[in-house]
């Protein structure tokens, strides 16, 4: 009986114990393990670094895969200014809020005493620099923008009007001025150095970025009339999307001063300046893109994460021949056009190294404006004699600018110890011609022909699927073809067939600062012309040229193209200088002129005594498929601005209405 009673009490106690300790049962749990509290972050410098890592990782344009670098590439259709496709994330108020949250954490850390005033200033400088970069990206794509300078978390009350959440657009000029002013504020606070081999922004990073932004504002003002917008638009009337040439001189001045601040500091220099010979130049220029060179790299991104599986994404750019081990990763995604190859000058000879026009000679009569649109039918037996014959497939490229040899893959070049095949046809011993012979993936048309002791293949090498043009006809729309005979080499790992390429990405190199100075001087006639000419030629001399060119805008634009190929810079030139200005056609290769993306089709000619090579200029078969992002070949002045996202809810003026 006693036991029964005890049992009864245990039961009653059991039934009621929860009632007294309802929430304690939950409060004693381990809690949320998936999040970190702001207090934990601000109490240590590593916590603040973690917040900074997030801010840097969202910086616009700071990655290998950023779209607008494809300007010079064949297979992607970035021929017209079209921000809809190129700039997602430039209207990034979420990340701007993240900057503000970071500033709050820094202030709190200072108040708590976990950092001193110097540290606080350095962090704040970095935050201002990062925020200015975001707004710079924003203003250049959207025109005048709303500028928010704090986190608005506390401004929202459900069901209320919430006036504190709304910000009007400033005029475009005010926006540019604000951005440049922010760079100045960052310059004041940022340290001269963040330590050796640090990729964090320092004072000179801010100067260099300011020079870039000021040049942008200046160029846009100068060339405003090339793509002036319709005056009936409200945004134009309110000067939200409006600049004018009279604004330019002040901006050029700022660009010159900021660039000069970097140059005169002596902290930075060109990597491998004044090489002893062409091969040394090629070696330097290759090395520059293999590991981050801190004397030249002012701002950039490293892919050496410590994890051997990290890649900068360029592993896909190898020609098909090098696609290793796995299918479907999109090898040979990008190819470079003949237009780019033509741009690189020749040395007149290996010892004198003066520059000569880079146009590749294909015809005996020298009419290099002639090209074919359908080489399979247009190129016939009787035309062979019109072509200039070369002894080897690589002969036309051997005396080209060291930058071409270091950064572009061309027919017959050697990469990772393997000869790169980029050939597209054959003149058979009987004189008959065949361009892109039945080039299905199995390579059934790639039939070798004996000549002398060697066998020659229409696609360069034996086997299937390894040549640039192989499979082109049945696979026109695929990205996985080098339909353009050249392909980018700049960022590829030169030695290893590693899937995980970790070469760095430079956002700002010293060379850009030099060229910015030169352009600002030429355009504004302010600054020191002698210095400007020297800076322009410093860049060329690093590439092995011994002669000097004059300080002209054409020579400067040429350098923008060849020095910064594949680095996102040329499309920026076209945007800021309103360079795509023909309303009827795609224009991209040369500022303001008609452009067609051409390819070169190297072919072996076996009809003579010895095998020789000829080169056909042609629009590649993919040209029509690649043109026009939405099938529309026209572009309009309005395309220089992106649409204002969500403008109804934002209660601001849209563009182009």
């Amino acid at each position: 009986m006693k036991m029964k009673k005890i049992f009864k009490y245990i039961l009653i106690a059991g039934l009621s114990f929860g009632l007294v300790s309802c929430d304690k049962f939950f409060d004693s749990m381990e809690g949320d393990l998936s999040k970190v509290a702001a207090e934990d972050l601000q109490s240590s410098e590593n916590g603040m670094l973690a917040l900074l890592a997030n801010l840097y990782s969202n910086l616009p344009g700071m990655s290998m895969s950023d779209n607008d670098k494809y300007q010079m590439f064949g297979n992607t259709a970035r021929d017209v200014p079209d921000y809809k496709n190129t700039t997602p994330g430039f209207w990034d108020y979420k990340t701007i809020r993240a900057v503000h949250k970071f500033m709050e954490v820094v202030e709190n850390a200072y108040k708590e005493g976990s950092i001193d005033e110097a540290k606080k200033d350095a962090y704040m400088g970095e935050a201002l620099f990062i925020r200015a970069c975001y707004y710079f990206a924003n203003v250049r794509t959207h025109g005048g923008i709303p500028i928010v300078e704090k986190a608005l978390d506390d401004e929202y009350t459900p069901g209320e009007e919430n006036p504190g959440l709304y910000y009007p657009r400033k005029t475009e000029k005010e926006s540019w001025d604000w951005v440049l002013d922010q760079f100045d504020k960052a310059i004041e606070l940022l340290p001269l150095s963040q330590g050796s081999k640090s990729l964090r922004a320092n004072r000179y990073t801010a100067y260099a970025m300011k020079a870039r932004a000021a040049l942008w504002a200046a160029s846009e003002s100068t060339y405003w009339d090339r793509a002036a917008l319709n005056g009936s638009y409200v945004a134009v009337q309110k000067k939200l999307t409006y600049m004018e040439p009279s604004y330019a001189p002040a901006y050029y001045k700022q660009a010159i001063d900021a660039a000069e601040a970097v140059i005169s500091s002596g902290v930075y220099s060109l990597y491998g300046a004044n090489p002893s010979d062409i091969n040394a130049a090629i070696g330097n220029l290759t090395d520059l893109f293999q590991t981050f060179q801190y004397n030249e790299g002012i701002f950039g991104r490293s892919y050496k994460t410590g994890d051997s599986e990290t890649t900068n994404g360029t592993d896909k750019w190898v020609p098909n021949q090098f696609a290793v081990g796995y299918t479907g990763t999109g090898a040979a995604n990008y190819a470079a056009t003949l237009n780019l190859a033509d741009e690189y000058d020749y040395y007149d000879a290996a010892d004198t190294r003066k520059h000569v026009s880079g146009k590749i000679q294909t015809l005996v009569d020298g009419d290099e404006n002639d090209y074919m649109t359908d080489p399979q039918t247009e190129f016939t037996k009787d035309k062979v004699a019109r072509y200039k014959h070369y002894k080897s497939v690589q002969e036309p490229f051997l005396l080209k600018d060291a930058r071409f040899q270091a950064w572009v893959m061309y027919p017959g070049c050697t990469f990772r110890g393997i000869t790169v095949y980029m050939e597209g046809g054959m003149v058979k011993p009987d004189g008959s011609v065949s361009v892109y012979p039945n080039s299905d993936a199995a390579g059934s048309g790639n039939i070798g022909v004996e000549k002398g002791d060697d066998i020659y293949y229409p696609f360069g090498g034996a086997g299937s699927n390894n040549s640039a043009f192989m499979g082109l006809l049945t696979d026109k729309n695929s990205n996985n073809r080098n339909s353009y005979c050249f392909s980018p080499r700049k960022f590829l790992d030169q030695n290893s067939a590693n899937q995980y390429v970790q070469s760095p990405y430079y956002d700002i190199r010293y060379a850009e600062v030099l060229l910015t100075y030169a352009e600002a001087v030429v355009e504004s006639k302010q600054g020191d012309e002698a210095k400007a000419k020297q800076y322009l030629n410093d860049i060329r001399h690093r590439a092995g040229f011994k002669d000097d060119v004059d300080l002209t805008i054409d020579n400067i634009l040429h350098e923008w193209k060849v020095e910064f190929a594949f680095e996102n810079k040329w499309s920026n030139v076209l945007y800021r200088r309103r360079g795509f200005y023909n309303p009827e056609h795609i224009s991209n290769q040369e500022e303001g002129t008609l452009g067609k993306k051409l390819t070169l089709i190297p072919m072996v000619d076996l009809s003579g005594e010895k095998a020789e090579w000829i080169f056909l200029r042609s629009l590649p078969m993919t040209a029509t498929a690649a043109w026009g992002y939405s099938g529309n070949l026209r572009f309009n002045n309005e395309d220089y601005y992106a649409q204002i996202p969500n403008y109804v809810n934002n209660k601001i003026e849209p563009n182009n209405k």
């Binding site: 009621s16 890592a53 840097y56 994890d307 051997s308 990290t310 290793v324 081990g325 696979d475």
Partner: protein, 1077 residues
Amino acid sequence: MNKSIFLKRLASLALGLFLGSAALFAQKTITVTGTVTDAQKEPIIGASILQSGTTVGTASDIDGNFSLEVPEGVILEISSIGFETRKLKATAKMEVILVEDSEMLNETVVVGYGVQKRESLTGSISQIRSEDIAATKTADGVAALQGKIPGLLITQNSGKPGAFASEINLRGFGTPMVVVDGVVRSTTRTRKSTSYNTNPNQLESYTDLSVLQELNPDDIESISVLKDASATIYGLGAQNGVILITTKKGQVKKPSVNLSTNFSFASPVVPRDVVSWTEFMKYENAMSDVAKMDHRFTDETIAAYERGDKDLVYTDWYNEVYRKFAFNKMVNLSVTGGTESINYYFGANYADDNSILKGDSYGYNRYGFNGNISVKLLPSLTMRYTTSFRQSSNTGMGDFDMDWNVFYYIYQSNPMVGVHTKDNPNHYSDVEEHTNPVALLDTEASGYTKTDRKDFSNTLDLTYDAPFLKGLQFQVTGAYDFGRTKQRTLVKKMRLYNYETDISEQGMETRQETQYAEMWNDNARVYGRAQATFNRNFGQHNVSAMLGAELTSITNAMIGASRYYGVDGDHYLYTHDVINQALASRDDNQGTRSSSRTAGYIGRINYNYAGKYLVEIMGRYDGNYMFAPGKRWSLFPSYSLGWRISEEKFFKKILPMVNNLKIRWSDGFTGAPQGSAYAYINGYTASGSWVFADGGTTTGYANSQVANTLLTWAKVRMMDAGVDWELWQGKFGGTFDWFKREMIGTAAVRDASLPDFYAVSLPSENLNRSETQGLELSLYHRNSIGNFSYRIQGTATFSRSRATYIESENTRVYTSSMDYWKNSTLNRWNGYMGGNTYHWTGGRFQNVDQANASEVLYTTNGSLAGNRGIIVGQYMLEDRNGNGYIDSEDVYYTWGSGNPPLQFGLTFSGSYKNFDFSLIFNGATMKYKSYGLSAYAGFGKLNYLPSHYTDAYHVANYGDDPWDPNTQWVEGYWPALVRVAQVGSYNSPSYGWNQPYNYVDATYLRLKTIELGYRFSPNFLKKVGIKSARVFFNGGNLITLCNPLLRYVDPESNDSGRAGGEFQINKTYSFGFNLNF
């Protein structure tokens, strides 16, 4: 039946009738001795044997024997709880077999935290016994329930061993909670992601239903399903209903051993039927003509294969990969017995499920042990310990990418290439896309994924009958469950060689390097409950009450690691599948930990007056760890009412044959947890990373949300109106229910249209509403005609859902009524697939000219370009909006291809003498299958042509130009077949769009199970010491009625008849026996 036996029977019947009438006059007394057994010849203890119309009677003893003196010829009523009552004429020797009856009114039904008599139920609850589950022989416990329980919508998606790809959905609400022996045992767990193209480190969380999927039917006493407000007693998370599983308990009898086995042969439910290789080559060339592509095969090659030249290679990849059948086994052994003070049940089982694919890549097996022991510690105190241990192993391919594609690889493999290279039988040849399906299935060559699970659960109950108050009982239950899942994945770099040259070039390997990954997952649950129940009748007032409190604490921990073995250039070697033997420099590891807690107070009161007027009121006060302090607890009340009209006197007078007619109503609330735990705390989460200096990464942290103090569980209201009836003591009966569930306040973001500058996602709030409504019908009939007794049960369930409030709909702008029709879901009943099929005008393009002259354009840019790609035989599409061209505005809806909203089942079982049988049908409608010609099928890319596609438009003479307007065509069901350059690419609208002929109504009725059994006569068995023995044949999925087009594509499963499809479900032929000794 043997004719002579039949005559003998007839003679004895006549004699019996004569003797019977003679006895009427004599009024002689006889001593009846006999036994009462169930259908399995198991003795029934305590069965009542009563002389009809009197109180004279007795009860059977522990061996089922009885003896009774009655006047000769009277009728005896033999009855026992849970069995159908039989009326038999008294004879000196009687062997009475009682048939179990699941529908009996006084049957006890397991309900939440207790049991109730069926007659007094007021909720919608179905119960099924183990024999009915066991009739379907499958290792997948969910599939074994298909078609048997009204309200459960079940579709078997694939026949992959151990995948348990059966979808289960209760009344359209969602996946129900599973409770085993009083403890919730379905939980959320983590595993390697099963989606396409993932690496071994990617994880996904899923609702683990393994207690149901890996169910051993022989250890189950009953399964009951709570479908309405009766489920709300389980509190938060019970919004989709509850499945209650009760395992077998010990019985007071001599030890009895039961052994049952099942051996089955399985093959795909849809047979393979393709044209011969030589025919295929011609079809392929004809397809190339249509595609304006070069022929793949020269006339010489075709001629050579037709001649059967000896040196020609022909590999039948299908047969290289498929077995003729898979062989599966199930064995189950159990022992039960006991005395009044101690009894026990122990069962052990083994099941394996092998793959229809050759090689050792796929397979599943499990061992299980279930048992309980019950001890009377004191006359009023009983302790019961229940345990279950399960171990299962499941093997699959290493790379899920391969897993998804293995069928595609079979179909694309070139028969002119051998499995191994010409010169080296150890070298797999590079067939297509650098794969080889035979090599993929060879785990030595390509790797594996092995999942080993161990689940151990323990429950201890103490039951105390309070001596101080009659009818009061206390119970304490504690449970501790522990589970561990180990997953090992090896993805090997597989080198392939050129078939002709035996050379392996760069690129002829499946991946760059070998990777090995391991993941361990630990789960534990601690559960405690204390409850008091009170049960007493005061005259006509019957009262029962329950009060309880429970706590659950669940912890999960996962740790995973993987390493690579290096790339070729580095000369690294694959050694063993041990993490330590791979490269330490190429490691990757991960680990997480989480815990959850819930608590609740449970109360329930049942009252009925004279078994006529039934009332149930229950409530649950529930607490959940997910929410902010002060917002964690809530009360969920519910009630239900019943009226047994058949108990009313007036009713008995009017309709005496109706022995039960009850109307029911239930209505109650519960909560559906949603959102993530701890959302009320604002914090930073990992986001992005940056390298501040070469060689080291800093993980970024960001804050993208404000603390959410607004969202809590959705309020769920469950309603059910039902009627149950039964006539002629169970000959006919049924139930019919209307049900509705409302979800009030499901998570949605307030449509505040805030500017981007706020830059924070607004927190979710309880804003949206949805409802699910449906009907459920169950009808049964049972009868005995002489020795033939049978039972038929039919069930049908129809359910549909809709959103009744969508916050975002408030500001959404629709550009046209078509846009609204296509995209708005507000107040729209679901079950339809997105509009993506076109209407057919009825006409077809008979030749090229007709296509070019068509007034309707097939591309939207206003040119005839699209029409130039039209293939002869293509169905003309209707330009529904009349804008001149076919575009997405011309589509219409079809039913979806998922778990269909209307499903039905039919069970027909019975016995005749020693034979027994059962037939289980299952079917569904309101389902469509997308099937047939498509770019994805990649005609001409593949190397097989299913025979039914030969019924296509084709040129009258092989080799004619299909694009010549003068070419003669032969008509067929399908448009002309066309070769595509690569899978996914197409040049013709025939392939690019969802054509009407590609959408087939997938209504089907399937004979899910047929079982024929024979029970050996006990007299014979006794000599060999066996109590009962039965052998059976069982067939699964043998017959399917459906649209003839779906003869080649299974209407039930995910099989789409295309390359890239999944495993088909299987047709099985099984044999086995049950022995009891």
